[in-house]
Symmetry: C2
Subunit: 315 residues, 2 copies
């Protein structure tokens, strides 16, 4: 397949491996890039020197293109961007902030810029800011998410109808069938998070990977909607938050329960009771240990088989 | 296309027109059946004698198969079922209740039974009860909905993996592209609600149809989650409910705001301020006045075009 996404990012398959905090270090990015996807290092959970180390190791391991995901609310963002530019990273995926602040600077350096959005308003804003492509992320996605709660099935046609740049679908996608569904809806690429978070090369703690593989339907929920919407796996910490909401706790009380460094505790250190476990609804369909290469091979086979089979039986 | 859904229900296209309260009278069902779908009369908003009148008119208008949607919590359900059996209706779609209560009785009369579910547990229960097919309805669907908030993208593969009977996808589907997406996910049919609710033959009030066509992304929300989850279009009544939730109102206070007959007031009588307006997220993609036949023609053309085009560009 050759389309605008494979051309823009010089990749074999139009698949992004999501740059997830505590999961997406250089090992996962390298495995994903070698499997034909765009591997992405998640800078959101890294100090600047840690990011530099991961970029260095990635560049030593492969000549293939890769990206870095940068949440625009990162406190020391100038330092991150200085490293990204100096190390000649080819792709930056920005999220959680205003796309007009960094896009021009990065593009002047020859860097491809992609912005993550969850609604039409921000899709238009990102296009105006000059980004090369958009990741449109539906309600079912893990981690931080939009307030409109628009699902991937409704969001993708809404966004592909609104912008001219390519749209990469995220949220609920972890298989060849869901990738094909996203393409039917008009996406030209997909971003896969949860399934890569649980794979062998992810830097997440094994406890968290096991928890993802054990998750059943209904085990995740979009929480903290009034503060910063985030989809979490149910655990003890989640229960405490839910109780606070049921009891109509104040914002301050909720923030106190949330505390600090919960995501690291859960996803990187493996504390399944006290940690924050960010994962998507599609975790209910993940059950076997596997490598990034296993995932991509299965997706490619299933996508092609299902597509050919559907085209044999028209309405 | 011939598949288990077209065979079971003797229809040209594997498309159900949803049996929606206040929208799906015999006129809409007749138009949908004539366009090649399974037309469905929505009994949920009808007194028994009104349902009988609609069935009589439908049978006078066409020999094509049609169904009746029956919410199992309907207070006078024995009377409804007596009419359905006596009038020799061929298909019953049950929802909102235990599928084991009526399935056997209906099947003994030669009636095809379909049950609507929003999670795996009820899908398995419906299959055990002996239903012929399942409608699996995702979080983005209008009206009553599941507590798990599982989206169509995640629900369909979960359910098709769990049961052997055919799965009809609902929620977020109103176009050829979304129908193809549902089929990619493993569905063998789709149920379309919102788009038919707004069409010429729907019995909804014109004010409500205009409101659907004016809806933008983010204008619907799943409300009343602790009482009976229902996706509504934002209006004055919705705002009052939202305020009550923000103020942590008691269940009794919320029920008092909800009051009685709000759905009729909004959807049938056209009171856009005080009425309850049940509609799906996909309403944001509906903008033009159209007939049921227009809708089906466009879906068929788009489904076939997109499917053939996707199959030309494999991974």
């Amino acid at each position: 397949m050759n389309n605008r996404v494979t051309d823009l990012f010089q990749i074999k398959y139009p698949i992004f491996q999501a740059g997830m905090i505590w999961c997406s270090g250089w090992k996962l990015a390298n495995a994903a890039s070698n499997a034909g996807c765009l591997g992405i290092i998640g800078a959101g959970s890294m100090y600047p020197d840690v990011l530099e180390e991961h970029i260095t190791k990635m560049q030593k391991a492969t000549d293939l293109p890769f990206g870095v995901n940068v949440p625009l609310l990162y406190p020391d963002i100038e330092k991150l961007m200085e490293i990204i530019i100096r190390k000649r990273v080819k792709v930056v995926i920005t999220s959680a902030g205003n796309p007009s602040i960094w896009t021009e600077t990065l593009k002047k350096e020859g860097i491809r810029v992609v912005h993550v959005i969850a609604n039409k308003k921000f899709a238009l804003k990102a296009e105006s800011a000059g980004v090369d492509a958009i990741v449109a992320e539906g309600f079912e996605a893990g981690g931080h998410n939009g307030k409109e709660e628009t699902t991937t099935m409704c969001l993708i046609p809404e966004i592909t109808d609104s912008v001219n740049i390519p749209v990469i679908a995220a949220g609920g996608i972890g298989s060849g069938s869901s990738m094909l569904a996203a393409f039917a809806l008009g996406a030209e690429g997909v971003q896969i998070g949860s399934r890569f978070a649980a794979c062998a090369e992810s830097s997440a703690h094994d406890n968290f990977k096991n928890a993802i593989r054990s998750a059943k339907e209904g085990d995740t929920k979009l929480m903290l909607k009034d503060i910063v919407p985030v989809r979490l796996l149910r655990n003890k910490f989640f229960g405490e938050l839910e109780e606070a909401y049921d009891a109509c706790a104040t914002r301050e009380e909720k923030l106190q329960i949330l505390g600090r460094a919960r995501a690291k505790k859960g996803m990187f250190l493996g504390d399944l009771e006290e940690g924050e476990l960010e994962i998507g609804q599609i975790s209910s369909m993940i059950s076997e240990p596997e490598t990034a290469s296993d995932i991509v091979k299965e997706i490619v086979t299933d996508y092609n088989d299902i597509s050919q089979n559907l085209a044999k039986h028209l309405l």
